[in-house]
Symmetry: C2
DNA sequence: TTGTAAGCGTTATCAG
DNA sequence: CTGATAACGCTTACAA
């Protein structure tokens, strides 16, 4: 109970050898050990339940075999599958993933980066909360491997795994138009500092103009915070008022927002399908692994294109392994395409 | 680019003081520094972009202010909210949570524990994959703070945050009986090594006997792996065949299993409500934060009792903080009750 | 108020 | 094959 930790010196003494020899054993340099010494050390280690200190090792070698992974918001279905993929990829390369959640707070993200770096992680995979991030740029510049996930950072080239959202968004809008909806609207959280949202917004504007023939697409954009049911209800109400008796095809910027809008609509007694149709990206990895088509459950009028956050995590992890192996290599953008909507 | 890390010595030299003085500055011991020296050190630190090495600090002080958090399967909605709560609680206490995913593999869990401990985490919060876990018992015995979450480990008293599942399970079964279902069945993953599942199984058996008057409750238990649609479909088919024309109230051991069973049922063309009713725990924290009643979406005949994984995480974190503050204190069991079903 | 020096538990460099 | 010994970057008595 609470007994002092056994160290390499203890083992050395117990086995009657030097620390160096024990160290060699730990690191599997059996070519440098005679059979008898090896056995003596082995026995001593087992007897004492010795495990080497990774901290001391990290301090000396400047490597930890740890990779820090920071996700903007661990509560989303997207993040869940992303982490799953990243974990898988890193383990395959012999690295241990350490997950952290920024909880959508740039401040917390900054603190986490500092902390992880100061704990000697060998690299950082970040699904960042801010597209303006000098800290990460400095870090990458100073030689620390940094890989981005899904979200861009301005003014610097990072290794990054991303999904192209423009095309599937346009396809989805075309399909909504084809189904006869007269007006297109977008529900989104604040787009500032968030590249995927910005990309989807741009694509929406483009589609609203080209596919729906809107003159003032900006007026079709509704801001809401999906985690705040009141905010979403307000946005949906405003949208309904603005629409008059036009039928509406609503695009939600992500799965969480889609669910929030769905809640608001049904809460307001709006039947989905005739008056309002709902669509958006489906970034819900684990529902698919379950074989559950949640969008169908909401109603057959809900259409989506499916992204693959697990694959994205896997790619990000691989980028990290490559970057660690070759710190000076050329930065890469890895595309993980969405599955086009089944029209 | 790749320039050597600046250390406390560099700052000492730059500021023309000793390492001790710089160390005092870092640790906020301003009472031991004269105004001028403080300013000199401050300037030197800023100029050099110096950040102290947490690794070196950990090695020296044997504290890291890191708490390792291992979750059995990060892909589940339960885990998502649990981590959220744990993160919140730990941050409030000044500790940094480090998340890791065992991916339902006891082997990976063991490796993760080793790794985190060897990286000097100040404590470990574990939602374990195995109820038989000598490694964690040793760890706790040796003085490392260990807190369990939701799942028990045999043969040792741990600090633990858990939800009592017996009562709500019985209530749910009574309500199913009240709605006229003639047979009760349970869908569950393997119960071995998993205390909450075992507890729900026991409660089901009790309810099947006492509420439904079953003579052979074991025959009403169907094993399936929710992540494998085929396995679930097979279990559901078997259940339907066994039931003949009795109506069935099906209890799923957790949310993921409930969804899987729902998929299988609808896939087989079974309409929910008349022939088969579905119920189980609702451990889907974030859906509730969204205000989304997913069970209603599946169909109004799906009934649940709601657990609170976020609160559970919060309690676990608080237990950890208390244990770190008072390593010798008495072990505690913290109950986080479920919300009884609305009948 | 400041500094010296030892040491945390490893690994790396040499020298046998 | 084996072993001294000096780092790694920090904290902490103990002096001054």
């Amino acid at each position: 109970m609470g007994r002092k930790n056994v160290t390499i010196s203890d083992i050395a003494v117990a086995a009657g050898v030097s620390k160096t020899t024990v160290s060699r054993y730990i690191n599997g340099r059996f070519d440098l050990l005679s059979e008898p010494t090896r056995l003596r050390v082995e026995k001593a280690i087992q007897l004492a339940h010795y495990t080497p200190s990774a901290v001391a090792r990290s301090l000396k070698t400047q490597r930890s075999y740890l990779v820090g992974v920071i996700v903007a918001n661990i509560t989303t279905p997207f993040a869940t599958s992303l982490l799953n993929g990243i974990g898988q990829g890193l383990r395959e390369g012999g690295y241990i993933p350490i997950f952290a959640d920024a909880g959508d707070s740039p401040d917390d993200e900054r603190r986490l980066i500092d902390s992880l770096v100061s704990h000697q992680v060998d690299g950082l995979i970040v699904n960042t909360t801010t597209s303006h991030n000098p800290q990460l740029i400095d870090l990458a510049n100073s030689g620390t491997p940094v890989v981005l996930c899904d979200r861009y950072i301005d003014d610097y080239n990072f290794d990054i795994a991303v999904c192209p959202y423009r095309e599937p968004t346009l396809e989805l809008m075309a399909s909504m138009r084809g189904r006869g909806f007269e007006r297109a609207v977008l529900f989104t959280q604040d787009v500032a500092n968030n590249s995927p949202r910005a990309e989807r917004l741009d694509a929406f504007i483009e589609g609203d103009r080209d596919v729906f023939g809107a003159h003032d697409p900006d007026a079709d954009v509704y801001l809401c915070d999906p985690w705040d049911p009141d905010s979403t209800r307000a946005a949906v109400s405003a949208m309904l008022a603005d629409s008059g008796d036009r039928t509406v095809g609503a695009y939600a910027t992500n799965t969480v927002t889609l669910l929030a809008v769905y809640n608001a609509l049904t809460g307001l007694g709006v039947a989905l399908g005739e008056q309002v149709g709902l669509c958006g990206p489906d970034d819900w990895g684990w529902a698919h692994r379950l074989g559950w088509n949640w969008a169908d459950t909401l109603g057959s009028s809900v259409t989506t294109f499916e992204t693959d956050p697990y694959a994205m995590g896997l790619e990000a992890a691989r980028l990290m392994l490559e970057r660690i192996a070759d710190p000076a290599g050329k930065k890469q953008v890895r595309l993980v395409p969405a599955v086009m909507p089944q029209v």
